[in-house]
């Protein structure tokens, strides 16, 4: 399992095909990773065409690059590129979801839970594709607006000869009526949002660090537990997934070891770290450091799995 995440990188892909290049004009966000370099849009394109495995993309690096990109834009233009930032946020969140789902076992499907997880993975994929589809369509709409904007409709005021024929207006409105109408119309309808809302992006947040701490305590007590036992008290699928991801992180750091007699058999987890407490803070490189109030909290994983 760990080898999937840490796998050997294939030769770097480069942005050879310009099919997804955004319109020229303003600086385009470029990603430079060990196995990919090119515009962010192209990265998405490759992932959605499954030419690049999402599990081989270090999202933390992409995020770091984006942060510096957007700071640069801010320095140049004196204002934050909110549109681009919110778009990045949604795509990155989806990629993170997708990556987490990809890391789950995908052997034979045994029970409903496995099916649910596989479906969730496809749904995330679909969400990404749908997002891209509307982006592409909006480009076409923009082109059409542009072309059609060169035709001007005949929209001339009616000739006086015809306006003179208008039927007399039946007027029953008083000045007070008008004042009431004006007051109602001038009433503020809704408050203007103060920032970019992200709550709809994320169902609920479960901290991977907290869960790691919990797992550590259980394992230190019992020495060895099955995955089923470790997740028996999880109230929702999300917690199960996060605990699994936490275990992967702990496995990487060598504080737990896995025993599994046969594929898809019972997974037993044993504490193999010393007496030193596991530094849960080390988790997070892949799950986003804290980038201010708009970002997801440090070390939290948000999976919208339904």
């Amino acid at each position: 399992m760990g080898s999937t995440a840490e796998g050997v990188h294939p030769p770097p892909l480069t942005a050879g095909t310009p099919e997804n290049l955004p319109a020229a004009g303003k600086a385009v966000f470029e990603v430079r990773l060990t196995n990919f370099s090119g515009p962010f849009d192209l990265l998405l394109g490759l992932i959605s065409k499954r030419e690049l495995d999402i599990t081989e993309i270090a999202l933390a690096e992409v995020t770091d690059e984006f942060i510096s990109h957007i700071r640069r834009m801010q320095a140049e233009h004196g204002s934050w590129a909110l549109d681009e930032a919110s778009e990045f946020l949604v795509v990155a969140a989806t990629l993170l979801d997708l990556k987490a789902a990809r890391l789950l076992p995908c052997g034979e499907v045994e029970d409903d839970e496995d099916i649910a997880l596989l479906e969730a993975r496809d749904l995330l994929f679909a969400r990404l594709l749908q997002y891209r589809a509307f982006k592409e369509i909006s480009r076409q709409l923009a082109e059409r607006f542009e072309v059609e904007g060169e035709r001007y409709p005949r929209d001339t005021p009616l000739e006086p000869a015809f306006t003179a024929l208008l039927p007399d207006l039946i007027w029953t409105t008083t000045a007070e009526d008008l004042a009431a109408l004006a007051a109602a119309a001038l009433q503020p309808r809704e408050t203007v949002p103060e920032g970019v809302r992200v709550d709809h992006l994320h169902g609920s947040a479960v901290s991977i660090r907290e869960q790691a701490g919990l797992l550590e305590a259980h394992l230190r007590n019992a020495g060895s537990l099955s995955f089923g036992e470790l997740t028996a008290d999880a109230a929702e699928t999300l917690v199960v997934v996060v605990r699994f991801l936490a275990l992967l992180e702990m496995f990487r750091d060598g504080v737990v070891s896995f025993d599994q007699d046969e594929p898809l058999g019972e997974l037993r987890i044993r504490w193999s770290g010393g007496d030193e407490p596991f530094p849960a803070d080390s988790i997070g490189a892949d799950y986003g450091a804290d980038y201010g109030p708009e970002s997801v909290g440090p070390g939290t994983v948000d999976l919208t799995l339904q």
Partner: protein, 221 residues
């Protein structure tokens, strides 16, 4: 001038007609010219039904005349090359868009015409507004919450902009949640040069292998 909010308006034209029957067909230029005369005063694309009513002829006949005029303006006389002169396109065209017919200046004269036409057409929509518009166009009738879910950002402000520009409008409310549902307007179609929503470019080429996307959405949000 939609004909929907007609109260007790007594059409004076009809009265005049009653006094002394007016036959457009007997005037120089005949019915086709009468049709042109009406097209001169329309403020929005006008339907074949409205035109047929104004001229007191059948819808089929009106449609045939409209197509005939359209070709004439485009420089096709339908009479073959019997004239020594090449038929020339006129500086304007008759188009069937947004559910009706209307006269427009030819796009290739935009550089000249734009100088005489005041504002309105010039400001472009932002990327965010365009994407929101795309989602609404393809998912209508749709609530703001659902558009937000697909776009994954708050769309309140862009929805307001699009409404002000008459590209979308509230078309109803969700029977379950009571949320306002939005759809595109005839003006949207007109601005895109489309006859109906069905003529929008297909979404499927951009969604490979996702035939049942509708199901996906319904279960997810």
């Amino acid at each position: 001038m939609t004909g929907t909010d007609l109260d007790e308006a007594a059409p004076t034209g009809a009265e005049a007609a009653a006094a002394e029957p007016f036959s457009a067909a007997e005037q120089p230029g005949g019915l086709k010219a009468a049709l042109e005369a009406v097209l001169m005063v329309v403020e929005n694309p006008v339907t074949e039904q409205e035109l047929a009513q104004a001229l007191a002829v059948g819808v089929e006949e009106v449609r045939a005349m409209l197509v005939n005029l359209q070709q004439e303006y485009d420089g096709y006389t339908g009479k073959g090359p019997k004239s020594a002169d090449d038929p020339q396109p006129r500086g304007f065209e008759l188009r069937n868009v947004g559910g009706g017919w209307r006269i427009y200046s030819r796009s290739w004269f935009a550089p000249v015409v734009s100088a005489f036409v005041l504002g309105g057409q010039s400001s472009r929509l932002s990327q965010a507004a365009l994407e929101t518009l795309a989602v609404i166009a393809y998912r209508q009738p749709v609530s703001r919450a659902r558009v937000s879910a697909i776009r994954a950002v708050n769309v309140d402000s862009v929805v307001r902009t699009l409404t002000q520009r008459a590209l979308i409008a509230a078309v109803g409310t969700d029977p379950e949640t009571g949320a306002v549902l939005y759809g595109t307007t005839p003006h949207f179609l007109e601005r895109l040069g489309l006859g109906s929503v069905a003529e929008l470019p297909r979404l499927s080429p951009h969604l490979p292998g996702l035939e049942n996307l509708g199901d996906y959405e319904d279960t997810t949000y």
